[in-house]
Assembly symmetry: C2
Homo-oligomer: 269 residues x 2
Amino acid sequence: MSRMDSGEIEAQLAAAVAILEEAGPIALRHFRTSTTVENKAGEHAFDPVTAADREIEAFVRRRLRRDFPDHGILGEEEGFQPGANDACWVLDPIDGTRAFMSGMPAWGMLLGLTLAKRPVAGAMHQPYLGETFAGVRDGEAWFRRGVEQQRLATRATTRLEEAVLYATDPGLFATASELAAFERVSQACLLRRFGGDCYAYCLLALGQVDLVIENQLQPYDIVPLIPILEGAGGVVTGRDGGTAQDGGFVVAAGNRELHARALELLNSD
Amino acid sequence: MSRMDSGEIEAQLAAAVAILEEAGPIALRHFRTSTTVENKAGEHAFDPVTAADREIEAFVRRRLRRDFPDHGILGEEEGFQPGANDACWVLDPIDGTRAFMSGMPAWGMLLGLTLAKRPVAGAMHQPYLGETFAGVRDGEAWFRRGVEQQRLATRATTRLEEAVLYATDPGLFATASELAAFERVSQACLLRRFGGDCYAYCLLALGQVDLVIENQLQPYDIVPLIPILEGAGGVVTGRDGGTAQDGGFVVAAGNRELHARALELLNSD
């Protein structure tokens, strides 16, 4: 299975996109209603889980088991279900639950495919906007809204002084050293914006922003986005320059040069 | 003219909405393209003005002069043009230029009507989402997307511990005292989100968030939103509890009780 050819990967990506788009109406049924929010983390932390997360994950898992009975599934809500081969779907039913809870359409439904733990294809669907972003690691990435489809390509900004940076929330840089590292890059950039969630990576793939720096990510927050970013010409790693797929502190840039400059400044303390 | 009755105000609001919706395609022609960004503030600050801002303002001014030749117009780009009566349109062609520049649809086109300097009607149109929010100060506020229209109503959260707070960027609280005041409220809330721009106030009117606290606003950033917020049952003032229409430090809440609690905590140093 690790030797799945690019045609097979494309076909599986198309299936993933179809499943996410089929699940879109479930999300929309809950969006901007008085959704019941449970508090998964107990009284002192705040990790909201909505009914929408659970329903979407259950739906997507059913579809995946039907279409790919031998693949494993790793999902935010129900954890890891091993498969009979080394292919594994990685699912975040609603990435950006806080955006979802606030009525802001910066959340998305994420589904990615790994082979021998390596992300090879991924998709993000935003049903309120009617947008889908998808990509293949060693191939192309594309964006579709309605009948319009375009190839995704990051932009060529290589200097931090010209770069637009996105991050979800400064609070994610929880230690003084992390915050200082983020601020070094942030202050070197032309513009910094907060509040992106998974949508920020999609804006990077669209060539609308240049850098996304985040922290405290889970694997399912980033794995489905890696092939979209790489298919669009972007570079995404951990803060140490290694793989981003384990989550944690993640740095995504539109190109190798800008990525190297951001990483250098992040690690210059 | 100050004695314009509610029917006349409703009619002028309908005209404002029609003008904004007609201008929507101008904004979309520039959205997510490689828009030329000029730097209005010189080298060391960053106040982007896009071609879209200018084109939209010119278009809306032409329409307003045609339909309301006696009204004044105050707009972000071209300043104040006095009218023959005490009615004045207040226009922000693209509120959230930074969101616009980043490809994030949290920007909006704002147009409000003041009578004797008092905001009486206002509208926000977001053409990428196809959404319009509109309201009358002593009347109702409504939301429309496609053929669906609903009345806007803020929600009843009265405790900060249960409140969702929006702000555009922590950097707007430029002095240590402002930032400390914002942080006091922020830390008392259930959830804090950044990146809202004018859309955050619309989410408040939709009953999706409970508080919006911002700083460094211009009058045209807030005047068109005041009738939407008040028509939806919300309360919006300056930090001192006085009028919000001059901009500066603005506090908007879904109801009087929550607003009082936020103001008290902001001013408790």
